[in-house]
Point group: C2
Chain length 326, copies 2
């Protein structure tokens, strides 16, 4: 950390506060930008091509929804919410329908959303009957306070707000059932996979981040991961960046991953990409996961230490890409 | 934030990374140090002298317990845990016995503990039957993962670990019942008051932080405050500082108060006291609350924007003080 401090000192002299990497200074700053993820993990390169194409199609559809909204002048908060709603409905991903099972064969969903303009935020954990947990997080953000609610208390607010409620079995999918069966045979925790997230800068320059997940296959009921913990799996602050993480939640919590990246940008003057690499590569352990981030200058970072991360990025310059490996 | 970045840049040139304020360079670095709090809020200066003396006696007893442990070579983690156990048992404070009531007349307790040496942490929320929530947080920290658990799932671990369980009415006190009655008449949220916290540097130079609370009088069941959110109300990292906060939890969550102070010290090279003042005075709103913090050099900061904060500090140089106002 001392070494990092010195490095940061040097970077300050080179790039000035909050500066973009010098290489980007000649590129026009995008008027809007977005990145999304569908989870990081051990994604074999010889994955069934049909499955691969389904993931790519799912990510592409979600990214189009967000990018179209931003291009039409939507706020960053509305754009990231729309992406997450789409991915929560896609059974391929571990959020909403398609969420993993807890050790007792149910689903407990976590989600968070944050507005970088005001740092307003909303987060929920242990949600079992709300079709779109991200909409409940948004409801808390708008109603502040409280901003962070668990279980039945959170669901009471969903009912009051008129959000769609479903039986817990609505979230069931055969693939996740099979993963639970395998987990129960091995009694070993599996790494997270399929958490979904989105970050955006809108045309007013405001940032937002959102994350939604079912957590870990076979997790203990009541376990809270990093996704709903502001500063761990989700964070947004106009002065620095918006971040959504996916990986070993406990590691993201203890290293306050999302807010640490923001602090390196804001306090340390580090370029966004370097800050994300520092936290993923040097602070976390290899294989812990990844992050997507968008900076206050519209720069995008997508960094992971797993074999792959379902991810996509788009901006006003015409960039539109969806990737798994590389 | 830009202005702060420039200020931080200047500080780096003057004090070097993570440096203590220059005025302290002549003072010998203490071999151990501790600070504790019993909540920040509107504490009238004309408080009944008997009540004042009871608070001072409670803080003094808890501080002695922690200081004696540190002087005897205990770890920072053991010292902060022992302080919190004592304060959870003291019905004057809003943690354990004496915790405030939720809107439905029960108690839901939150707690967290963090080891700055490893950044291992444990946190619980919505605990209703565990006499010492801090011991359950410690259990999670030792058993990692999971590190953050809610409600019945957390209590199942308490039962398995053999922690003392009590009926929820064990936490009742007449004063808190009266505060709930007043809340229900007014239907207005009250500010937090009486949350307890402790931070320490032990003789091996390791830091730790711990916080425990009943939250807000009349809080919605399921509401999670900042105390159990690592980086918001509780944080410890040997490279910077250990922090415990008390105040308007939602504000502490969105501004990631504890980890922001640590980031200003670690990435920004700001002295601990200045970092705490920046976050409490410039980032939070007036009256939001306070923090206690101990730096990696054994320096102590106790900063608040309320009329008072029950607090105390002790170190190996013989310092031992308990204060409410000033």
């Amino acid at each position: 950390m001392r070494r990092l401090g010195l490095l940061v000192g040097l970077l300050i002299t080179v790039t000035a506060c909050g500066g973009a990497p010098q290489a980007q200074e000649t590129t026009p700053r995008p008027t809007w930008a977005m990145a999304i993820h569908g989870g990081a993990g051990t994604i074999p390169r010889d994955i069934d091509p049909e499955v691969r194409d389904a993931y790519v199609a799912g990510m592409t559809k979600a990214l189009h929804i967000g990018a179209d909204k931003l291009a039409a002048g939507s706020t960053a908060v509305d754009a990231v919410e729309a992406v997450i709603v789409e991915l929560e409905d896609n059974p391929l991903f571990n959020a909403g329908r398609g969420a993993v099972f807890t050790s007792d064969g149910r689903h407990e969903l976590d989600a968070a959303i944050m507005d970088g303009r005001t740092r307003a935020c909303g987060a929920v954990t242990g949600v079992t009957t709300v079709r779109h947990p991200i909409l409940l997080a948004r409801t808390l953000m708008e109603r502040f306070p409280p901003v962070f609610m668990a279980g039945a208390g959170a669901e009471a607010i969903a009912a009051e707000a008129g959000l769609e409620q479903v039986p817990n079995t609505f979230f069931d999918t055969p693939k996740r059932r099979q993963q639970l069966d395998e987990f129960l045979k091995r009694r070993a925790a599996t790494k997270g996979g399929g958490t979904v997230g989105a970050v955006a800068m809108d045309s007013a320059g405001n940032l937002a981040a959102a994350t939604s997940t079912g957590g870990l296959t076979g997790k203990l009921p009541g376990r809270i991961g990093d996704s709903p913990v502001i500063g761990a799996g989700t964070f947004a602050d106009n002065a620095s960046c918006a971040v959504s993480g996916t990986g070993t939640g406990e590691q993201y919590i203890r290293h306050t991953v999302a807010s640490s990246i923001a602090a390196l940008v804001r306090e340390g003057g580090m370029p966004l990409e370097a800050a994300a690499h520092h936290v993923i590569d040097d602070v976390l352990d290899p294989g812990d996961g990844g992050v997507i981030a968008v900076g206050h200058d519209g720069s995008v970072a997508m960094v992971f230490s797993t074999t792959g991360m379902y991810r996509g990025a788009a901006d006003s310059s015409g960039r539109f890409e969806v990737k798994i490996w590389e």
